[in-house]
């Protein structure tokens, strides 16, 4: 009997202890709104993971210092619990579980990359935790009917279809011949689907359609085909290694193609690593600092870039900008919901319609942002060999005129 009592009291003490400790970690403590995020601080995505974290931190500091979030007449500040997911989807899913069920986090920020977002989304969905993510663009994220996933960025299939349309336009509205090479991963294959759509829409023909391996560092075979078949546009997407490999080998093999469109140019620091060889490459980007969107916190792209440079010592890549935007979206949704109820916040997120320095944000039922077009910039170099990325499309933000066709190597 006595033993039973002791056990009972021990268990109840444990329960009380646990419940209080969970409460002390829960989403809103005192004047703090605690968000959770699993981020790749080590492993193969660590550089972009750090860009993401810097973007989040910058926005948290800015929002907190400018008055925080006002809910129910009270002012709250943001705080983020970070865990390192080691660039590993399994680990990311575990950490999401841990954030939600152990740390009691009720609102999440996304990880870096489509693959990791895909791993986390089922977990946040299961617990009904609203997640605003800024770095998962894969189309498959938005076709699963997730109700609690919101992405501030444009989906992957829209990355390069502007390029095809521009090429058709420059060809006098006539269809073009497209050569394409994509890595075999979720993101790049989505970009490919976008190109297929654009080709069908414009009646263009795809004459080379290569899939690049994950361990890609040689695409000479594709480029030899390009040299022989002379397409009007060459499209390459394979993360940073794809961009770097393509530029190196195009220059070495003197491949002449009127238009070259790619992804991940700024992440690859193309103009820094390749200098003049990267000239004329067209790059898809979610954001560029010269865009003229505005908000109250970061003012505009130029100011954001300057502030970011001051704090972290480098020019912000779009991964940082979109991550900062995610926090602005959360703040806006909390204030409109005027509550910390997950359902109400979710509904407020779904009704988001705002402008940030990063772009307009309005979510489709699938969760993707439909109000922000992709921009294309072109690498342009001056005579001294210093290169700059200049926006060339859409025309509304163009700060330079597209150079087309790309001059032949023999004439450079």
């Amino acid at each position: 009997m006595r033993l039973n009592k002791i056990i009972l009291s021990f268990v109840s003490a444990l329960v009380i202890l646990l419940s209080t400790s969970v409460a002390s970690f829960a989403k809103v403590v005192g004047d703090k709104i605690i968000l959770g995020a699993a981020i790749s601080l080590t492993g193969k995505y660590s550089s972009n993971g750090v860009h993401t974290q810097n973007g989040y931190n910058m926005a948290v500091d800015r929002i907190n210092s400018m008055g925080g979030v006002k809910v129910g007449g009270k002012t709250y500040k943001f705080d983020i619990i970070y865990y390192d997911d080691e660039s590993n989807p399994k680990r990311a899913a575990q950490l999401a579980e841990r954030l939600i069920s152990q740390d009691g986090v009720e609102f999440m920020l996304g990880p870096y990359s489509s693959g990791l977002t895909k791993a986390i989304a089922p977990v946040t969905e299961k617990y009904g935790v609203p997640m605003v993510e800024a770095n998962g663009a894969s189309r498959s994220l938005f076709t699963k009917g997730y109700k609690y996933l919101f992405a501030v960025l444009a989906p992957a299939n829209l990355y390069l279809d502007v390029a095809i349309e521009t090429a058709v336009e420059l060809n006098g509205g006539k269809p073009v011949r497209i050569a394409q090479a994509f890595e075999q991963d979720a993101f790049s294959q989505d970009v490919r689907l976008g190109i297929l759509d654009a080709a069908e829409r414009t009646g263009s023909k795809i004459i080379i359609d290569d899939k690049l391996p994950k361990e890609l560092n040689d695409m000479a075979a594709t480029l030899v085909k390009v040299k022989q078949m002379k397409p009007d546009v060459l499209v390459v997407s394979g993360h940073t290694k794809g961009a770097l490999t393509a530029i190196r080998q195009i220059a070495e093999m003197k491949v002449d193609v009127p238009m070259l469109a790619m992804t991940h140019c700024d992440a690859a620091k193309l103009s820094k690593q390749h200098g003049k060889n990267s000239q004329y490459a067209l790059c898809a980007s979610q954001w560029h600092k010269s865009l003229t969107y505005k908000d109250d916190f970061f003012k505009d792209g130029m100011t954001y870039a300057a502030d970011f440079q001051k704090e972290f010592g480098y020019d912000p890549p779009y991964q940082s900008a979109e991550s900062s935007a995610a926090l602005l979206v959360f703040k806006d949704a909390f204030e409109r919901a005027n509550s910390f109820d997950q359902k109400k916040v979710r509904d407020a997120l779904a009704a988001t319609n705002m402008q940030t320095f990063y772009g307009n944000i309005k979510f489709a039922p699938g969760g993707q942002n439909v109000d922000k077009p992709m921009v294309l910039f072109q690498v342009m170099c001056d005579a001294s060999g210093s290169c700059e990325n200049k926006v060339v499309a859409p025309l509304k933000w163009a700060s330079a005129k597209l150079i087309h066709p790309i001059p032949k190597w023999s004439e450079r």
Binding site: T42, G43, K44, Y45, S46, S47, S87, A181, Q184, I208, D210, K211, L212, P213, E215, N217, D218, M219, A220, A221, T222, V224, K225, K227, Q228, M229, H239, T240, K241, L244, T245, R248, Q249, E252, M253, K254, A268, K269, Q273, H274, G275
Partner: protein, 297 residues
Amino acid sequence: MDFLVFQYPMITVQACLDGILLGVLFALIAYGMALQWGVMNIINIAQGDLVILGGYIAYFMYLYGIHPAWGVIVAPVIMYFVGIAIYKLVINKVVDRDLFISILATFGISILFMQLMNFAFGADVVLANSGYGTTMLFDSNVVLPNSKIFSAFISILFAACLVIYMKKSKLGRAIRATAQNARAAKILGVDTEKVYAATFGINAALCGVAGALISITFTIHPYMGLPYTIRSFMIVIVAGLGNLPGVAMSGMGLGVFEEFADYILGTEFRIGSVFLLLVLILVYRRFKLSRKREYLK
């Protein structure tokens, strides 16, 4: 892809040349692996990671304004000592055990190296620009980047030096003796411990050279080592141990095979076709072996 190779005959020439230049580089890495395998009976899973580390040495020289081509001299020297250190710390404890233990040990080293490189150098893909131009052949229908020609030339040079060294020098003879029969060599006064350390060092140095060349011709990244391990494993399997001309031939053969697989089947089947070839060769060897045994009976 359809039959581009026939539509554009120049592609055949291009594929052969590309394949040979690439294959020579593979053969250099495979030669190191064969040497080590033959002498110490160790299959080094960390081979590719040693290559990448060598690449980073050349990359950092490039970053500090030294032409990366000097990497082919500096990288092997540094890598030789890295190799000796790995031997003293880990390999000498597993060298007499069965193959499985040593595979596990080198697998562990491979993971450790990947993570350390990621930690130290970051996860960015990098490359070193050599500034070498391009050679155009056949009315500029066939293009060969000079960096590829340079890397093939250096690979052959190093392989040739090594062959001469193995034949002529005292250490080379000791290494060959140990490979034939370690116990007998020991009885005859060869310090096998020293031979093992030197072998591991030489292998790491070869990886260093190859890595420096790869940073000049392709790109490097902390996690890109594995394909090089697999390719060299494949080459050694095909050629057999202690068969240098075989390693060179099967290296070039593999290079050309990959290029043609790329044109005919498509880029997505490039690595897959290598594996398929590996399976076919193993089955064929098995078949040959079983016939031999019957004959002996």
